[in-house]
Subunit: 340 residues, 2 copies
Amino acid sequence: MMFLKAQKNNVEFRPHFKTHQSLEIGKWYKELGVDKITVSSLEMAQYFSTEWKDITVAFPVNILEIETINQLSEKIMLNILVESIETARFLTQNAKNKIGIYLKIDVGYNRTGLSHTSTQQINEILNEISNCAALDFKGFLTHAGHTYKCRTKEEILSIHNTSRKILTDLKAKYIDRYPGLIISIGDTPSCSVVDDFSGIDEIRPGNFVFYDLTQHQIGSCSIDQIAVAMACPIVSIHADRNEIVIYGGGVHFSKERLETDNQGTIYGTVVEQLEQGWGEPVSGMYLKSLSQEHGIVSVPESLIRKYKIGDLLYILPVHSCMTANEMKSYYCNAEIITRL
Amino acid sequence: MMFLKAQKNNVEFRPHFKTHQSLEIGKWYKELGVDKITVSSLEMAQYFSTEWKDITVAFPVNILEIETINQLSEKIMLNILVESIETARFLTQNAKNKIGIYLKIDVGYNRTGLSHTSTQQINEILNEISNCAALDFKGFLTHAGHTYKCRTKEEILSIHNTSRKILTDLKAKYIDRYPGLIISIGDTPSCSVVDDFSGIDEIRPGNFVFYDLTQHQIGSCSIDQIAVAMACPIVSIHADRNEIVIYGGGVHFSKERLETDNQGTIYGTVVEQLEQGWGEPVSGMYLKSLSQEHGIVSVPESLIRKYKIGDLLYILPVHSCMTANEMKSYYCNAEIITRL
């Protein structure tokens, strides 16, 4: 779906692989013809470099890893993110092979990136980069992570339109000097709800491969689009307080939490187990707390007698990237899929 | 210190190794003469079984792992936790080798365990266990995890005294039938502040090996007793909003948070970097938010010009067990220590 949308809009599709971190899942994309990817660390870039030859590390360069950068850029087209003159200078002095450079632009998330109004800083960095033949300025990249605070499609669209305006204005300003420059956006909420990507050259969504409860709360996906669930064995049942204890804790789900209207803070939602896969959420059944290895599931009184020790509960995670990061493999149609 | 306290009190010291998960750190205990340990999963028990021959898995038995239980109990003295008649029955039918059984007792934490007042359930389980020669009832075990909500020594002592009363009453009730039975307590806050363990046979603290900001807030340790810090490279500096971006996010720290009076929700505290190790917390410098790989550090305006890209910030974690679980190794006196 996301691939088709990118194709229809004629934008480059460079999916973020930090969500699944798996060469095998990567193959699904390869079969579609995708040949460029995004990751969030050099370690992931190394892992994927056996199969992928054009990788963007969407994280501000950690200059202490220059050796890995030089090793990787010998083998693949490595693209990295710069947002300061200090980093640009360091790269000018230390880059050994051709590296693609994106300037990270802050469009209002206020986590990383240069302000689009910092023309002097942007020019200074571009001038520094142009001193070094190895550094190839590719364009402006952003991650509108503030869409994760949205709860309606309209809010997401409004952020997207602001981001697009900022980036297309920047592009217009620099296109004469850099005729090939592109603008790249990233967040899954925007990529999910926006239909018209005009003005954008590249999209880098990642989470959409699985989606999760957070994306559902934002409005990026429906519950039945969530494609990853944790199967957790029941180890104890406390009928007196309508609780089930599962083997599934912070080391499995991470401690990612979601604030909900009805259930307060939750760490996951239990779904019906079907013969193949899973179905709808079980009303009133959710992961209410996590320790290192334990999870406590709140269960309606009417259902608690249905379960017994050793049964598996299927649970949708709050944040699939974090949950997948904790686990070492996936089950898919009864096969085990490994990851980094 | 903890070892000496146990020795002085003449209680068995069975440290919990889930915090460090490292055979090499385990050796420090071996040198003291410790020969029994606690872990929180069968996977950890397998990892440590090469060096340790008496291991308690302090987690309610996951009956789906019976094969691993039978494999391990062939090689080592494996002790497991039972809190239901269903699990007891399953073990009676499936245990192949001698296994130590503890009944998990809930002393008010309300996470897992049998209520001490459920005499009928306790008797039923003990009778079931006695049907099987392989199952060796060892005693009553608890984890007073509600001490983690305490903020004064008095509160912790009050919980400890209640737990002790519950367990010693149980012991008195069953000692004639099981002359060797012991009572075992676990939480690091109690083990840290209690000086007199009379009535207790075994303690299983784990977190004290590193301690962390949570234990400091509880009152279990001083800041300078925290023995693990994360060294995180600075990747970006935003002087306009007094923030530093580090390479250190949820996949490194876990998303464990701490509510503080002065700084709101924090994910870590920055400490001074010394030539060897680290010193005091830097006033007003703390980890204010985490993404998957990014951490945002709040920095006082007066200090922000002191730092440059590529510098390392040393950060004390909120929960050392979770942070250590995310990382694959430690640095100790310039040596790398590996773990499971």
